[in-house]
């Protein structure tokens, strides 16, 4: 039976090569790659290996966790939430009107130092429910304009804080516009503690991202006013509060460095904070906190790493123990073919 109609036939081409290669051997050349014989290893998870691996991880992780936890515990941290407390009782039912008002918003806070804090003591402000990572917010800035005066007029991406009366705002955009403007003054026993506000920003930001010859222009001239105003005679590279602020936070709860205290704070010290409560977080139910903290080699206070290490380490140790018991109580010969699926199903009867 012929089925020539369906068969596909080689084209006229290629025929010359075909007959030329007729006499040569078509035996494939041997290579480990093509024969799929490249050296390889596949660890077999024998009980000993598994138990040993868990044991070692447990033994390594638990001390690590302890060390991390100690480091974290060694950090002293004082957190003081003041957003509600700094509103006079009479204005508490309409906080937004108060904060937008013109009256003096000074506020006194007292902080007790429970443990000695070695210098430098870092001062942070912590904002909560503030979506500094909001897409509309994040993209409302112009890095070129911050870097040099050349791009001053390039404010396209800064909307809605781009121009005022046709003149470009420097620095433009929502991020700069909403610059945090609460201020803190610290005193101990009526003696002022100096706050060092130099070097609180990233060096690379100061040196290359914010220009030495860029000066604020038309900043906070519109209404409403978003936050802090900037000195028109200080270049952006020295406006460290702005630089810190412009490095937007990744999460809606964030801390930003306000300054450093270069003296030790002794245990039992009472620190008075004279606070200028200007920043409006009330309209979006944001919280404001003042944080004083020392650091360790691991950074600020964060128990997570230590706890994670401890948890995983203990689970490993437990599993090592569990598998050892299982192995001793009910040992099974390695490579027993009767456990193979087809042997098992045959045994079960079909």
């Amino acid at each position: 039976m012929s089925s020539s109609a369906t068969s596909s036939v080689a084209l006229g081409g290629g025929s010359a090569e075909a007959s030329a290669s007729k006499n040569t051997s078509k035996r494939p050349k041997y290579s480990r790659f093509t024969q799929q014989e490249l050296p390889a290893c596949k660890p077999i998870l024998t009980p000993k290996w598994v138990i040993l691996t868990f044991l070692i991880s447990g033994v390594v992780f638990i001390p690590l966790g302890v060390i991390c936890l100690f480091a974290s515990q060694g950090v002293t941290e004082i957190v003081d939430r003041y957003d509600t407390d700094c509103i006079p009782l009479s204005s508490r039912d309409n906080k937004v009107r108060y904060i937008q008002g013109l009256e003096d918003k000074r506020c006194n806070r007292t902080i007790m130092v429970t443990k000695t804090m070695k210098n430098p003591v870092y001062i942070y402000y912590q904002l909560e429910n503030f979506y500094q990572n909001h897409r509309r917010y994040v993209k409302s800035r112009q890095d070129g304009q911050l870097r040099g005066p050349k791009d001053e007029h390039d404010v396209k991406s800064c909307a809605p804080e781009d121009t005022i009366g046709g003149e470009p705002i420097v620095p433009c955009g929502l991020v700069a516009w909403s610059l945090f403007n609460d201020t803190y003054d610290f005193s101990r026993n009526n003696e002022k503690i100096p706050v060092n506000k130099k070097g609180i920003s990233w060096k690379s930001d100061r040196e290359s991202k914010f220009g030495k010859n860029v000066f604020p222009k038309n900043f906070q001239k519109g209404s409403p006013i978003g936050g802090k105003s900037l000195d028109q005679h200080v270049p952006l590279s020295e406006q460290e509060d702005l630089i810190v602020w412009m490095r937007t936070a990744a999460l809606p709860i964030f801390r930003k460095l306000y300054g450093k205290i270069d003296t030790d704070l002794q245990a039992g010290d009472t620190i008075k904070v004279l606070l200028q409560n200007n920043y409006n977080t009330y309209s979006f139910n944001g919280k404001k906190k003042l944080v004083l903290s020392t650091t360790s080699w691991l950074g600020g206070r964060n128990d997570f790493l230590g706890i994670a290490y401890l948890t995983v380490g203990s689970i490993c140790l437990f599993l090592a123990f569990f598998f050892s018991v299982l192995y001793l109580a009910k040992p099974r010969q390695l490579g027993d073919p009767s456990y193979l699926s087809w042997n098992r199903s045959a045994g079960g009867g079909r």
Binding site: T6, S7, L11, S15, R135, A159, E161, L340, S341
Partner: protein, 984 residues
């Protein structure tokens, strides 16, 4: 030729791009009868008005101008690319949180890689075309031969082709340097058959050999329009006011080459894309793997996940943003922030852009690359699948189906040439009711072994001859001993019949040791070889004569050369199932020799010799049950008057322009009757090496093997026994049309009645078997089941009303043997299981009759390295031996499946983690759609940073070694039962 060097093999001409159809068509395509083309030979001016196509061919898909638009169009037919195009467009708009580069970069990288690949492949095709178009041929111009490139050849030109040269177009054969106007052609490029074919020019045109003479030739060829039927050609040559009929014998096809002939002269009939071989160039039907289809579903699911995520984000955003977030400057309201609905709407698209990476853009490209390397480097170069004897390595003709090999559950195998060697050896014969030949077949030995009988060592009589094609051992017939047998005359007729009635070509030296027989089928060669060994040595064929060197005919030891004039050849075809030759002896005796299938011959026997008929039938059954292939031989003496009147009809039929084949068959029927039975021959068809072991391994792997064969039921069952498919512990269901009830109905002869009876019987049998099968399956440790069904019953069982029953019965059986099935039925059975049972099927076969089956299955495998390329051309993989299936399925298929599954999972998990992080972050940004990753990181994540690990996994991952997976084939079964791709 075999273009496996492409990612998908959708190689071939775009200009002939037909929609790849899955339907299986069989048989010839009818030539377009009503329209003719008229070609004026040697007269370019006269041919001018018709505007025949030129001879240059182009198989390229693109040209310089169409490359970009067409290439891009092809790329964007892929849904994933469209998706990413959409996302890229979105990312250009201000609502996008990411810069356009994030989506444009990977898309353009993917497109670039695909386009470069396309361009490279097309360039290779172009160069190939150019080298073909520029090869030279000599044509007649102004009485001399002038060399011109092929592409300038025109219809009607007179060309000269030298020895071993290729024909540049379809050429009408006019004259040859050989005597009698014949030439030999090799058609290996067309059908893969390496034996030479004879072409014969019309006697009137023999003289046009030298340029001076050929210049005078002014003929007019009227012939059919170009078509793709390789084996038909009808037309007339009008020369010197005479009309001469043309047949395929005078047509030399493009792609063939001239052999054993110094040179020939011919007239060009079809050129370029109108040649038969180019009309046949067809796209292999592109098959997609099941896994790929699942992948599409998975991608749709993932897309739904994406939409859900975006909806959640959009709703969240419209709720959260609807507040006095002073720092967002909403008081200076942009229009999109006017109300919550608006915000949600825009945020939705923002998020779609942001989360677009959840759909892995490079997934398809990576998988294609992996599969490509797997097939070209691993499968094609596996030394375990290299067959040294035939010098054939395995070849993956498509790289789409690698992992499909790992999921195959049903194998449909052809018998001849696949399970068996197709190495035919003359083994036994029966002459005038006496059986000769005392060998024991492999199958008999196998049966005996299973019965626990001891197999006696083969005792060969001294001086028994053994050569390729001849394994006969019986001193009663050798060296003229047949003269002393009861029927020496019948013996003589048998030997003559073997020596004369065939279409074999002798090649090489005319001595019994050195001669090589070129035959269309190994059976024929074996029969002629047998005649040679019996002392009837066929040594020369001219178009009209067959020369036989006969020994011991008149008296012992006398050798004489006898030339028989061949008057007519009634050729073999599958409907006739027989072949006849009318020849005239030197003494004037007119004889018709006929050989063919037993039932066909028995139908046409004359009266008398009933006892011989009965005994021969018994012998035939014996031979059949030993797994031998049988043929019946008969002859008939003709008287000159009847012959002459018949011959006139024959010549008329032969020159008919329409339905020539049908008319020839009818005429043949007139003379092939009242035959005298001589006897029968039995040829052993040896099993391929390692078939029983391979089958056992595969069935342990949970693969069910069906044998579909055109052979007799007894032969099929025996082969099944020999290769371990059936054994005596199995319960056998046999549904045969050879039952009394059916035979009775057949004798009554009413076609409608026969059909009804058979259908009833089949239904009854099926019902009974199914009940028994279900009963035995319910009992614990019941015997395994097997089903044997023949083609006639199958025809009715495939009827829609019985199909379900057949399917459920056969699915319960471990092995199924279908015998006497036609190629179409093979395909039907395959698609029955494929569609009805939703199982992955594989078909393996070697011949043209397996093409339909190969194309119908999920995976088609062709046996290469033998004669006949048609199966290979239609297949997805080609291997040289059946036993290589073990490696292909258990090693390559299994690993490919494992690897591709892991790659897919790797991709989805990697992209899910990547995107879900982003999704989580969205909650922490007030659903604003702020991005978490850097633009460049996101754009290069898939196409660069994580591209290599996946590919490495896809190439090197192994769970167990190759030797282990072959030793424990059950591993494959256990892998298949566990879904590897998570269903979401």
């Amino acid at each position: 030729m075999v273009r496996s060097g492409s990612f998908h093999v959708d190689s071939s001409s775009a200009s002939h791009r037909r929609t790849p159809s899955r339907t299986v068509t069989l048989g010839h395509i009818q030539p377009q009868a009503p329209s003719y083309r008229t070609v004026y030979c040697n007269d370019r001016e006269s041919n001018q008005p018709v505007r025949f196509k030129g001879n240059s061919i182009s198989t390229t898909k693109y040209n310089v101008f169409t490359f970009l638009p067409k290439g891009l169009f092809e790329q964007f037919r892929r849904i994933a690319n469209i998706y990413f195009l959409g996302i890229s467009c979105l990312s250009m708009t201000p609502i996008s949180p990411v810069s356009p580069i994030t989506n444009v970069a990977p898309l353009s990288m993917v497109l670039l890689v695909s386009l470069i690949k396309e361009a490279f492949e097309d360039w290779k095709r172009f160069q190939n075309d150019m080298s073909i178009n520029n090869s030279t041929v000599e044509i007649l111009q102004d009485q001399q031969w002038i060399s011109i490139p092929w592409r300038k050849l025109q219809v009607g030109d007179i060309v000269k082709i030298k020895k071993d040269g290729f024909f540049p177009a379809d050429i009408l054969f006019l004259s040859s340097t050989n005597a009698d106007g014949i030439c030999y052609v090799e058609t290996a490029n067309l059908d893969g058959e390496t034996n030479l074919k004879i072409r014969k020019a019309l006697e009137r045109t023999w003289d046009y050999l030298v340029p001076e003479k050929a210049y005078e030739f002014k003929g007019e060829i009227q012939c059919e329009q170009p078509n793709n039927s390789l084996y038909t050609f009808t037309g007339n040559l009008v020369a010197q006011k005479q009309t001469l009929p043309l047949s395929p014998d005078q047509l030399l096809l493009r792609g063939c080459s001239l052999r054993n002939t110094e040179y020939i002269v011919g007239a060009v009939v079809f050129t370029g894309h109108e040649t038969k071989v180019m009309m046949n160039a067809m796209n292999a039907p592109s098959k997609r793997s099941t896994l790929e289809k699942k992948l599409d579903k998975l991608i749709i699911t993932i897309f739904c996940v994406l939409v859900t995520m975006c909806l959640i984000g959009a709703i969240g955003c419209s709720i959260v943003t609807d507040r006095e977030d002073k720092y967002l400057g909403l008081h200076k309201s942009d229009w999109e922030y006017r109300n919550g609905l608006m915000i949600g709407f825009f945020t939705f698209f923002t998020l779609v852009t942001l989360f677009s990476s959840i759909i892995p853009i490079s997934l398809y490209v990576s998988i294609e690359m992996i599969k490509f390397i797997q097939s070209t480097q691993f499968i094609n170069r596996d030394l375990n699948m290299y067959h040294a004897e035939t010098n054939t390595p395995a070849s993956a003709r498509t790289s789409n189906l690698n992992e499909e090999l790992g999921q195959v559950e049903y194998i449909f195998s052809d018998k001849t040439g696949t399970l068996t060697r197709n190495l035919m050896e003359f083994f036994k014969c029966s002459i005038g009711g006496i059986s000769y030949g005392c060998g024991v077949t492999e199958i008999e030995r196998g049966i005996a072994q299973r019965h626990g009988l001891k197999v006696q060592e083969e005792q060969r009589s001294t001086g028994a001859i053994r050569e390729k094609g001849f394994n006969f051992d019986d001193p009663r017939l050798m060296r003229g001993a047949w003269r002393n047998e009861p029927n020496p005359d019948l013996c003589k007729e048998l030997f003559r019949c073997l020596a004369i009635c065939h279409t074999v070509l002798p090649e090489g030296d005319e001595s019994p040791e050195k001669i090589v027989y070129q035959a269309a089928s190994p059976d024929e060669a074996a029969l002629v070889t047998a005649a040679k060994n019996f002392g009837f040595f066929f040594y020369r064929r001219t178009p009209t004569m067959v020369h036989v060197r006969e020994s011991h005919v008149e008296k012992m030891g006398k050798i004489q050369d006898v030339a028989y004039e061949i008057l007519n050849v009634l050729e073999f075809n599958s409907t006739r199932k027989r072949q006849s030759v009318v020849c005239r002896f030197p003494d004037g005796r007119l004889v018709l020799y006929c050989k063919g299938a037993d039932n066909v011959i028995f139908e046409r026997l004359g009266n008398g010799t009933d006892d011989i008929r009965k005994v021969t039938r018994e012998h035939l059954e014996q031979f059949g049950s030993s797994g031998l292939r049988t043929l019946c031989l008969a002859y008939k003496d003709l008287n000159p008057e009847t012959y002459d009147s018949w011959n006139e009809k024959f010549i008329q039929a032969k020159s008919a322009l329409r339905d020539r084949e049908k008319k020839l068959d009818e005429v043949a029927e007139l003379i092939e009757k009242d035959l005298t039975l001589i006897g029968s021959t039995a040829i052993e068809d040896k099993l391929q090496e390692g078939v029983p072991t391979c089958i056992e391994t595969l069935s342990r792997a949970g693969i069910k093997i069906w044998v579909l064969t055109g052979d007799k039921m007894e032969t099929a069952i025996n082969i099944a026994y020999a290769c371990n498919l059936i054994n005596n512990e199995m319960k056998q269901f046999v549904i045969s049309s050879e039952t009394d009830a059916i035979r009775e109905a057949e004798e009554r002869g009413d076609q409608v009645e026969i059909a009804r009876v058979i259908k009833e019987e089949v239904k009854k049998e099926l019902k009974k078997s199914l009940e028994e099968a279900q009963h035995s399956l319910n009992t614990v440790a019941g015997p395994k089941l097997s089903l044997v069904i023949d083609g006639k019953c199958l025809m009715y069982a495939l009827d829609p009303s019985l199909r379900v029953m057949l399917l459920s019965l056969s699915l319960n059986c471990t092995s199924v043997v279908c015998c006497r099935v036609s190629p179409l039925q093979k395909a039907q059975v395959t698609s029955l299981v494929r569609k009805g049972a939703q199982k992955i099927t594989l078909s393996i076969g070697d011949g043209a009759n397996d093409v339909s089956m190969i194309q119908a299955a999920h995976v088609g495998i062709g046996i290469s390295g033998m004669e006949g390329m048609q199966a290979v051309m239609a297949s997805d993989f080609a291997i040289a031996q059946f036993r290589f299936l073990t490696d292909l399925l258990l090693v390559h298929g299994r690993w490919s499946y494992l690897r591709i599954c892991k790659v897919v999972m790797y991709f989805f998990y990697k992209n899910l983690t990547f995107t879900l992080t982003q999704f989580w972050f969205t909650f922490r940004t007030g659903f604003s759609g702020q991005r978490f990753y850097d633009d460049w990181f996101q754009s290069l994540f898939n196409v660069v940073f994580t591209a290599l690990p996946v590919i490495v996994l896809g190439l090197f991952e192994k769970d167990v070694s190759a030797s282990l997976s072959k030793r424990y084939p059950e591993l494959r079964a256990s892998m298949r039962s566990r879904p590897k791709v998570p269903k979401k």
